[in-house]
Assembly symmetry: C2
Homo-oligomer: 243 residues x 2
DNA sequence: CGTACGGTTGAGCTCACTCAATAAGGGTGG
DNA sequence: CCACCCTTATTGAGTGAGCTCAACCGTACG
């Protein structure tokens, strides 16, 4: 299990996924196309299957998540807990010198456009503008993280669950379909939100009972009443932001 | 109240505080002394009194905290809550484009070596090495923030209080004296840790009753049994890090 | 057909919150 | 110096959200 599964020797991938290469990603803002092409030539499109540990040849991977999701897993003693969730378009970033015991793990079939940490470091040194963009993104991430956890620390169980569902619904893989796939087990949602599996289950069922969401299967849901869900997050007063 | 109080027109301050200029701060790592001097010439030593809103001419301030502490205050609706605490040697950083409703506020008499955000931005563009250092620091901060809040979200009230006391004891202004000054009211500690004032009071008194700490006044304490306090944080299994 | 794993549901308990009353400082003005 | 006020801290009693423990269901898979 947890086998490393980068897309088989597909270094030529930049061409393959050029069609979906996010030129408009903030990471590339203000860079001339020629530079982007050069950067992209260093990056590859990695594909991971469910639960795969995300790394390139045992080296940390830096990159943009194209599809799927990445869970940040902390293993302490014998219990694992999910301490963060990265969604498409998010940046999988380097986290300073200390690696700590936190590892990224794929949730569902996941594609990442990226390169190894040392390679990325070289890119940063070569393209100052890229470095500035990266800095901005890391800073934004820092702020988002602070908001996320700060609010989580103060939210009730239903508020936390509502917040997560809303977040996931906004990052749905299929914006055309109203049905979204949580992709996470109750237990994983629990560790992510600091709740117990049973509590998560109860909250989700309660929302379903209230008609706020529809439950097709444990992980397939549809948001029926966005307003009510929004209200349930307890964030009504701030309306916007909150990713 | 909350009046802006930079050290009166003291732009010449770099010389004044040169003695305590943290040349060894990671922000300046690897920079030639000449560059550091040049950077320092742009920075000034700001001094804020208790509860002062930290800013330079209404512009966000970036810099290194030399003494005192900075609370990150979020004002939402009519209630304020402390969502973070920065201690000496910490970096007061820019947090991406969005400013959000979070403002830094001085806790006690606080000194900051820094400059306005635009000025700092210019410095970053001028000294690539400074930019790399800053990036590393922001990334580290991100990781530390994630750990901090992640753990907070899962900790019990006594664990949270123990964690804060330990953190404060490690950043004591007077390493010679065993007595540390919390500088924060019970209410502020409460908003910082996601607890109620009464709960904070109860936990602190409980630690005192157990002989783990000594209480000289509500804010002046001494850690008598570091081991027990460490154990009370619930972090025994990871021993180190945890700032 | 049985086993396993994820999900659901119920009963009881605990910890932190709420409400409320009381103390302890710390200034300020007489 | 003392009386007073205002903020902060302490302490108690009762409540409730979320946890624990435990049983049960449903689907996938060998």
């Amino acid at each position: 299990m947890n086998a490393l599964t980068p897309l088989s020797e597909a270094t030529a991938l930049p061409l393959t996924c050029a069609g979906l290469l996010p030129f408009d990603h903030p990471l590339f803002a203000g860079l001339p196309l020629s530079d982007i092409a050069e950067i992209a030539s260093v990056m590859s499109c990695y594909r991971f299957k469910d639960d795969a540990l995300i790394a390139a040849d045992d080296v940390p991977l830096v990159g943009i998540i194209l599809a799927g999701a990445v869970a940040r897993i902390a293993k302490q003693w014998d219990q694992v807990s999910t301490v963060g969730l990265l969604l498409p378009n998010d940046l999988l970033i380097l986290e300073g010198p200390r690696t700590a015991a936190i590892h990224p793990e794929a949730v569902g079939l996941t594609e990442i456009l990226g390169c190894s940490a040392p390679e990325f470091d070289a890119l940063l040194r070569r393209f100052p503008k890229l470095q500035l963009n990266y800095l901005d993104l890391v800073a934004s991430e820092l702020q988002a993280t602070r908001e996320w956890y700060t609010l989580l620390g103060r939210k009730t169980a239903p508020e936390r669950v509502a917040t997560l569902i809303l977040k996931l619904s906004r990052h749905s893989d299929h914006p055309d379909s109203p049905v979204i796939d949580l992709r996470l087990t109750r237990d994983r949602i629990g560790t992510l939100l600091g709740l117990k599996m049973e509590t998560v289950s109860r909250q989700i069922r309660a929302f379903a009972k209230l008609g706020i969401i529809a439950l097709f299967s444990p992980t397939k849901i549809e948001v029926l009443d966005h307003g009510a869900l929004m209200h349930a997050t307890g964030d009504v007063w701030r309306e916007k932001t909150m990713l």
